[in-house]
Symmetry: C2
Subunit: 161 residues, 2 copies
């Protein structure tokens, strides 16, 4: 299963992977697809995650660290590099003089929007092999897994702080 990225299973058309193997392989495939797509815009995966998070919120550095599950000092570096590229700005917080909120610049926003569109097209192409009904079924199953996992882990889905 952790050999998944190298294509070690599914040797026959119609041959079925174990569910865990399949999920692992699919996740590596999706990640790789995303990685390649965003690399065209000189973005790494973590930078992409940063820009993605900032699409609909302006968190403090501290909140960013929590959202991205990174150490504070790592976020400093990440935001520094994005700021250097003109993709984000730090705005002094109105609530705490020690604190900054982080926002996308128009350039950052258009960059992530463009990359996202490309990635969506990539994945949609991958799913073209499935009939519409199967795509819907896949979507429903995945949503169920994700929703349950989020609920079990107390994820606050709309935190903006």
């Amino acid at each position: 299963m952790t050999q998944a990225p190298s294509g070690s299973a599914a040797s026959d058309h119609g041959r079925r992977l174990s569910t865990v193997d399949g999920l692992a392989q699919l996740s590596f495939l999706i990640q790789r697809t995303l990685e390649r797509r965003v690399a065209e815009h000189d973005l790494s995966l973590i930078q992409t995650r940063l820009l993605g998070v900032l699409r609909d919120r302006q968190p403090t550095m501290n909140a960013l660290a929590r959202l991205l599950d990174l150490d504070k000092s790592s976020v400093t570096g990440l935001v520094d590099r994005a700021e250097r590229r003109g993709l984000v700005v730090r705005v002094p917080s109105t609530q705490d003089r020690r604190s900054f909120t982080v926002s996308l610049t128009p350039e950052g926003r258009s960059l992530v929007t463009e990359a996202a569109a490309g990635f969506e097209a990539d994945v949609a192409a991958m799913l073209d092999v499935l009939p519409l009904a199967d795509r819907d079924a896949l979507s429903a199953l995945i949503s169920q897994v994700l929703v349950t996992h989020a609920a079990q882990h107390g994820v606050d889905l709309f935190a903006t702080d």
Copy 2:
């Protein structure tokens, strides 16, 4: 969609993600799950991929670079560090005096086996929310996507060199 890791959608039970969003979120969740699990064994994702590839083959360094889609010099570093930890060994090739094959040590093999078992349990737990029939359906759909993608990209699934 690239904000997926932060849990930006699926605000209601029963609410459905778009397929692309769901896939992206699921892939990040699986990756994160794997990353955490292997970190318990002081392994990074890329080291895990290396050990995973070596479970059933002994490639040359060059072949490793191709399998892992990395630059030659990156593979040198990766194998150096794994060798330093006693997880792999370089064996002079019998076919080319410039070349080495790379093999797992018993320690490396047991480490990756243990990590894999943990990860499988993690994912299986995640899928417990689905009835058995739905798990089978998910597995079938994923397999179809993967098999088709592999076929379209000329993946040689069992290369050993």
